[in-house]
Amino acid sequence: MAKTIMVVDDSASLRQVVGIALKGAGYEVIEGRDGVDALSKCTGQKIHLVVCDVNMPNMDGITFVREFKQLPLYKFTPVIMLTTESQESKKEEGKAAGAKAWVVKPFKPEVLLGAVAKLVMP
């Protein structure tokens, strides 16, 4: 059975691009437009990994990860931050929120897939 990955990004094109890479590798993808939208979709289904942008309207990625990790069902679900931000201070914020990896856009599909394969829950 295909594993499910949630992609959270305010850019529709980025969601498409990430979705193409993930679906091509056999994953199922659910999308969130921002932190609020993504949290509303965390309704109990199994999510094996989250790929999340940082700068988003309504709720930014760091806040989303913090709140996502508070949900008992997703406490151990790994999160990859996928962002244009490359400042160390931002990375530290992501790490503190509970992210497991930080990938800088523009990403190569194989780089993202490598990180996903390494972290995705069994």
């Binding site: 850019s11 529709a12 091509g24 700068n55 490359s86 497991k100 930080w102 990403f107």
Partner: protein, 391 residues
């Protein structure tokens, strides 16, 4: 704008006198009176400044003030009118670009999916796929070849049996010859028996009445020999008929066998020919599937590169959003500038650094900082494409 400051001799004169007195007092009284002198001088300077401010305000005529206010009103209206439209255009362009790139990415996705399907179907049809359900072209070919091989083998086996049967039929001819010889033997014995019976009859006649009984026996023996001769002839005739029939059947079977041999050779040749055509077709199909697969891998690589390039839309979109948000601050800045003038009658120059500072706070990417710092064209972050940090 030269009148906006309004500093003419009427203003400068009292300020100069008060300021000069204060500085003179400071210089002269420092040694003797210390801090008291300094405080007094500061009070004098403040008084001078206040008098100048009041004088500056009062120095502007009503027409000049009205002109300045008109100018500030117009400037504010300009900001209110122009900036929202500029921002809407930028936002509209940004949205259109995002939708177009999302659509483009979707089409790439569709191309890759269709290509995958084509490769899958082609690989399956040609039998090059990983999974096999026995319906691929090469599998069908292999099965057909085996089945047709079995048919040919069965036919050859049948032909061999037929040849064996033909040999047995030919053997029957030998038996019929023997039977004919035996029938001729019977006829010969009957002839000799008849001759013997004739001699016995002659001897019986010569014996007179005493030989009458013997003559009867001799006659019966002659009758028997005649019947034996007749039976021998019948047997010989029947054997002749059977022999002819066997010969005819044997010849017909031989002709049929030769015909079947030819047909068999012809059928075998045709099967080989059909299988050869089929083999060439499946080989071509397999080669075509291989090429399609290689091309697919190449295209997927190209699409992968395209996906990396498409992400620059996200970066451009972010930059445009940052600039638009910054532009949206300008009307408020103009309003604030006007309010300051209304409150203090002080006409301040617009502070570009405030806006630039706000803009700088929104930057997320290194190239935004680089462009802000004066670079005309920040290098694309190719190296960043490989950047990944695990925590």
């Amino acid at each position: 704008m030269k009148n906006t400051s309004g500093f003419d001799s009427k203003i400068l004169l009292p300020f100069g006198l008060a300021g000069g007195g204060a500085l003179g007092t400071m210089w002269a009284g420092w040694g003797a009176w210390g801090w008291y002198t300094v405080l007094w001088s500061a009070a004098l300077l403040a008084a001078a400044a206040w008098s100048v401010r009041g004088a500056a305000a009062s120095a502007l005529g009503g027409g000049e003030r009205a002109m300045i206010e008109d100018y500030l009103d117009a400037r504010e209206r300009f900001g209110d009118a122009v900036l929202p439209i500029w921002c809407r255009h930028i936002e509209n362009s940004r949205t259109q670009m995002e939708e177009a790139v999302a659509d483009l990415a979707g089409r790439f996705s569709s191309i890759v999916d269709k290509l995958d399907d084509a490769v899958h179907v082609s690989s399956h049809d040609s039998g090059k796929g990983a999974k096999s359900d026995g319906s691929s072209m090469t599998e069908i070919f292999s099965r057909s070849e085996t089945q047709l091989g079995s048919v040919v083998t069965s036919m050859k086996s049948a032909m061999s049996s037929k040849h064996a049967m033909l040999a047995k039929i030919k053997d029957l001819e030998r038996f019929t010859r023997e039977l004919r010889d035996m029938a001729e033997g019977v006829a010969s014995i009957a002839a000799q028996t008849n001759l013997l019976a004739l001699n016995a009859a002659i001897e019986a006649a010569r014996a007179g009445p005493a030989g009458r009984g013997f003559a009867v026996v001799a006659q019966e023996v002659r009758n028997l020999s005649s019947r034996s001769a007749e039976t021998g002839r019948n047997i010989s005739n029947r054997v002749g008929l059977i022999s002819s029939a066997i010969l005819a059947a044997s010849q017909a079977a031989e002709q049929s066998s030769e015909q079947e041999d030819k047909s068999m050779v012809s059928a075998e040749g045709m099967i080989e020919s059909v299988l050869g055509d089929f083999r060439r077709m499946t080989d071509a199909l397999v080669q075509s599937a291989d090429k399609l697969k290689q091309d697919s891998i190449g295209i997927q690589g190209e699409v992968g590169e395209a996906l990396v390039q498409l992400q620059f839309q996200d970066r451009v979109s972010q930059v445009m959003a940052h600039v638009r948000e910054n532009m949206e601050l300008l009307p408020a800045l103009l309003r604030e500038n006007r309010d300051r003038y209304a409150a203090d009658q002080v006409l301040e120059a617009l502070d570009g650094q405030r806006l630039l500072h706000e803009l700088q706070k929104t930057y997320a990417m290194a190239d935004e900082h680089a462009v802000h710092g004066g670079s005309n064209h920040a290098a694309p972050v190719a190296a960043a494409a490989d950047e990944i940090t695990f925590f």
